[in-house]
């Protein structure tokens, strides 16, 4: 318990140099009618570079990152983001490329995309990959649009309106299905895995897609995957792979090999690109021969020794974002692949799975583990026994923060009461695992009073999230009007 987060009394930017109540209008621009012009300048502070740098440096010191703390969020794969990738992504040959440059001037960028798409095709065991989606959920959405187009071509779209998913599915799965115009139906799990009998009973000629994560969010490998694939395919459906948990199976198995038709991967999980405080990520779509014609355009293809952008894909769903994907992240992922090589990638998963099973064994002494013993890259604990002493999983999570480690994912999946979902990727050492186990023991055995009072060692105490949703103060303007002062920014009570 020696951890103390920095606690700066850092005000909002506007308090550093409050803008005048009516900032002067910018100078007129020749040719722009007066009517279109701003009557007042933007109400934003005029600050020196040092003031801005100090402000954000202080804020950064009140933020956990992988570089400061173990970050065992289940299903988020918070692994080390290698520094060399950061350097490479900032090269002018990568950063200073415009997406609309003539292809003859961006041959290297197209080659990176081409090579990465091919490598990911092999890793997934699927025919073609596209790097266009901006994130995992974006990839899911695009994949479901591809399924729509596929069924439309077969004249089955009107009939196949239903997306099936297990009750352990990530929330993005049903949300993506809804956005793509499907209805959703959850399949109950049995012992943490898909209940094959329930799936067999649920599939029909209305089934469009079955969305599945394997290993699933309970950290369990769906060993009946061949039977699942057969069931979905016999019903005429498409089997979709949510690649959030790919870190467990690199080089061991892949979605194509398991019978999936289409998959998304998260480069910001398995392939070590940084999460950036919530983004950017990079999603990848991979599809078998049946669905590949529907991938977004353009496709990067090699003609002789040249790389070109191919827009001539009549079945393609078109574009799902500007440009060709998050190239800056593709480049980082490519460096990750090169560093590890095939055997190294296999070792990534071995070590990730080893870490999860070792830590599960240790933490299973403190809280019950639902389902079977052997897990893949992550595992679940149930905080339910703590309820007897008036302690919730949330209290435990906040108490862990006081130890200088990030909390696990909590209250997901919902089929486990008071769930904690823990993932320690391959980049965490035994020393970190043991330190986390010790911190966990201190936290879980602490007094209810202390657990309720946590966190105490951070920049701020436990925040009232209900109040945030009730008052909805979402900007400096809101704070100002809430304080009833219109003429100047209200002083915000700051940490301290």
């Amino acid at each position: 318990m020696t951890f103390r987060q920095a606690r700066w009394d850092e005000p909002l930017l506007w308090e550093l140099a409050p803008p005048p109540p009516e900032p002067p209008a910018p100078d007129a621009i020749p040719g722009i009618p007066d009517r279109l012009r701003r009557k007042q300048g933007v109400a934003w502070p005029e600050l020196s570079e040092l003031e801005v740098v100090r402000h954000y440096t202080r804020l950064s010191q009140m933020n956990f990152g992988i570089d400061t703390s173990a970050y065992p969020l289940g299903s988020c794969t918070m692994k080390y983001n290698p520094k060399v990738s950061e350097r490479l992504a900032r090269r002018p040959g990568a950063a200073e490329l415009h997406p609309y440059q003539p292809v003859s001037t961006v041959q290297g960028a197209l080659e990176i995309i081409w090579r990465l798409e091919r490598a990911l095709g092999r890793l997934t065991g699927l025919a073609e990959a596209s790097l266009q989606p901006a994130a995992g959920a974006h990839g899911e959405f695009a994949a479901l649009l591809m399924a729509r187009a596929f069924f439309r071509d077969r004249g089955e779209l009107e009939q196949r309106t239903e997306v099936l998913l297990p009750d352990t599915a990530h929330g993005t799965n049903p949300a993506s299905a809804m956005m793509a115009g499907f209805t959703t139906r959850e399949i109950a799990s049995k012992e943490g895995c898909v209940d094959l009998a329930a799936l067999r009973a649920a599939v029909s000629d209305r089934t469009a897609v079955f969305m599945l994560t394997n290993p699933n969010t309970a950290g369990l490998f769906e060993s009946e995957i061949q039977e699942i694939a057969g069931t979905v395919h016999d019903a005429g459906g498409v089997l979709y792979y949510d690649g959030a948990n790919l870190n467990a199976i690199l080089g061991v198995t892949g979605p194509g090999r398991m019978g999936f038709d289409i998959a998304h991967l998260n480069l910001h999980k398995t392939f070590a690109t940084p999460h950036g405080g919530g983004g950017p990520g990079a999603g990848v779509l991979a599809a078998n021969e049946r669905l590949a014609p529907y991938l977004p355009v353009p496709r990067v293809v090699k003609q002789g020794r040249k790389f070109v952008l191919d827009y001539d894909r009549p079945k393609s769903i078109g574009k799902i974002k500007t440009g060709y994907g998050n190239f800056g992240l593709d480049l980082r992922a490519y460096a990750f692949l090169l560093y590890h090589g095939e055997d190294g990638l296999r070792h990534v998963s071995r070590r990730a799975v080893l870490n999860a099973n070792y830590l599960a064994r240790r933490l299973g002494k403190f809280l019950p583990r639902p389902f079977r013993e052997l897990v893949k890259h992550e595992f679940l604990l149930s905080g339910a026994p703590l309820k007897a002493k008036g302690v919730r999983t949330l209290d435990l999570a906040k108490r862990l923060l006081d130890e200088g480690v990030h909390a696990p994912t909590v209250y997901f999946p919902s089929l486990v009461d008071e769930a904690l979902m823990i993932e320690f990727p391959e980049t965490e050492s035994r020393r970190e695992l043991d330190a986390f186990a010790a911190a966990f023991e201190r936290a879980v055995t602490d007094t209810p009073e202390n657990l309720h009072a946590a966190p105490r060692n951070l920049a701020i105490g436990r925040l009232d999230e209900v109040r945030a949703a009730k008052e909805l103060r979402l900007s400096w303007r809101d704070l100002r009007s809430a304080a009833g002062k219109v003429e100047a920014p209200a002083p915000v009570p700051s940490a301290g």
Partner: protein
């Protein structure tokens, strides 16, 4: 069980995976296992992969060399006089921005699900939201979406939730990529996207078309962009809300333009979205980008994306947290307002740092300088036979559309490229058989990197590149 082999170049190999074989063996032993394969006993043999042909690992030096060798085949914009623009901006980024974005407490953190551990990013996002509110004149902003085009897609979905109807109007001049993204975001809805024709002389929206469409009472939204796809400001937009009445107006705006233009919230916009990469982030071949999204407070609960709100801890100290999460996929699942999970927080940080380092008066001054430069550019290109530059008669800021008379813009731009000028990008949809804007149009932009000298070089190259060309085509 050896650790994986790598190409024996002999340079230093930092350990991205800790420990050694002995540590791993000890961990396995604690589990009562003998070998790694025991950890995968639950994966049926039939679905195992064989060798994939991905090659051996490399040391760090070898990775750098291999990647640099490929990147050397790129010719970044700095090697040309570049006038590329559109939604992705080529802008000078003060070093302070990358210095802050490179703080690994920021860039290696996750979505701030535990707000107490992530006050730095949350306060930053609160400041980002506040800035977008100031720029747009709307009540509330979210903490970012993927890019400008997907933000427009989410805006379409929001419009459909707040107003009945099955027709959504967009300008025919909208960039083809955005039209395609919008069509995909709309694919799950029983609706139709219709294009509003533009005036051949001014490029302005045909407001009579809008008026008669709205009169049929089945339009649920109209999207328009400022500047428009031709780079121009359409004065008619300032009146369009009068025609629309309660029909939602979605405005796609350029953030830099909003530092000098009347905020869309003042003239009736219900949603304002934008591409924000130009504030603090490099073009990076079109990704990552930054989607900005603001709307009216009354529509907030139907809106997409993460939102940061102010609150307090038990001691009454102000802090920040994600809020209105009951709209989101991880809580609401199939009834969420969007599927978005990962967004673009780090670029939101870059956005607010850039705006703060340059400052509001500096931003307006930058837009003014770019406008002056664009006028110089227009004068230089406008005198060339075979070009109509600007193609349309309407006000513009930093960019405008050019018509290559009687020829394809791609051919002309390729000739410019051979003279080390990147003149802009074609506006036509490149998909075979696509309808859309004429192949003769392209968009050209003034930037901080192109002064008088580059402009004259561009004009000279353009003069030599117009008209029939009998030279070799490569």
């Amino acid at each position: 069980m050896g650790r994986p082999a790598r190409r024996p170049l002999g340079a230093a190999v930092p350990r991205w995976i800790p420990g050694d074989a002995a540590e791993e063996q000890a961990l396995l032993a604690e589990l009562g296992l003998r070998q790694f394969d025991d950890l995968f006993a639950d994966i049926p043999r039939k679905v195992r992969l064989g060798r994939l042909g991905l090659g051996p690992g490399r040391d760090e030096l070898d990775v750098v060399r291999a990647v640099d060798k490929i990147l050397d085949r790129n010719r970044p914009m700095g090697r040309f006089a570049s006038f590329l623009g559109g939604r992705v901006a080529h802008r000078f980024q003060p070093a302070a921005v990358d210095a802050i974005v490179s703080r690994s407490e920021f860039y290696t953190s996750y979505t701030p699900y535990q707000p107490e551990a992530s006050q730095g990013m949350l306060q930053t996002l609160f400041e980002f939201q506040s800035l977008w509110v100031e720029l747009t004149g709307l009540d509330a902003a979210n903490a970012s979406l993927y890019d400008g085009a997907t933000a427009a897609g989410e805006a379409l979905l929001l419009a459909h939730r707040i107003h009945p109807g099955h027709r959504f109007l967009v300008p025919a001049s909208l960039p083809w990529e955005e039209k395609s993204v919008l069509a995909n975001y709309a694919a799950g809805l029983p609706i139709r996207i219709e294009e509003i024709p533009y005036d051949e002389r001014t490029g302005r929206l045909d407001l009579e078309f809008v008026r008669s469409a709205v009169a049929e009472q089945n339009v649920f939204g109209l999207l328009a962009d400022v500047p428009n796809g031709f780079g121009h400001l359409d004065e008619g937009l300032w009146d369009v809300k009068e025609i629309l009445g309660k029909v939602p107006l979605v405005v796609v705006a350029d953030p830099l333009a909003l530092t000098v233009l009347d905020p869309p919230g003042n003239w009736g916009a219900d949603v304002v979205v934008a591409e924000g990469q130009g504030f603090g982030s490099s073009p990076s071949f079109g990704g990552p980008l930054l989607g900005l999204f603001a709307c009216r407070r009354e529509h907030l609960r139907l809106s997409p994306g993460r939102i940061v709100g102010a609150t307090a801890d038990a001691a009454g100290r102000t802090g920040f947290t994600l809020t209105l999460q009951t709209r989101e996929q991880h809580i609401r699942r199939s009834r969420a307002t969007s599927n978005i999970c990962t967004n673009q927080s780090l670029l939101a940080l870059a956005f607010v740092v850039y705006a703060s380092v340059v400052g509001p008066s500096g931003l307006a001054a930058l837009q003014t300088r770019l406008s002056e430069r664009a006028r110089t550019l227009a004068a230089a290109l406008g005198s060339i036979d075979g070009l109509a530059a600007p193609r349309f008669e309407a006000p513009y800021l930093g960019e405008f559309a050019v018509e290559v008379r009687g020829a394809e813009a791609t051919t002309f731009l390729d000739r410019l490229r051979r003279r080390r000028v990147l003149g802009g990008h074609p506006l036509a949809d490149p998909r075979p058989g696509a309808t859309g804007l004429p192949a003769s149009l392209y968009l050209t932009a003034a930037t901080e990197f192109t002064d008088e000298k580059e402009i004259q070089r561009y004009a000279k190259a353009a003069r030599a590149s117009v008209g029939p060309h009998r030279g070799a085509s490569s």
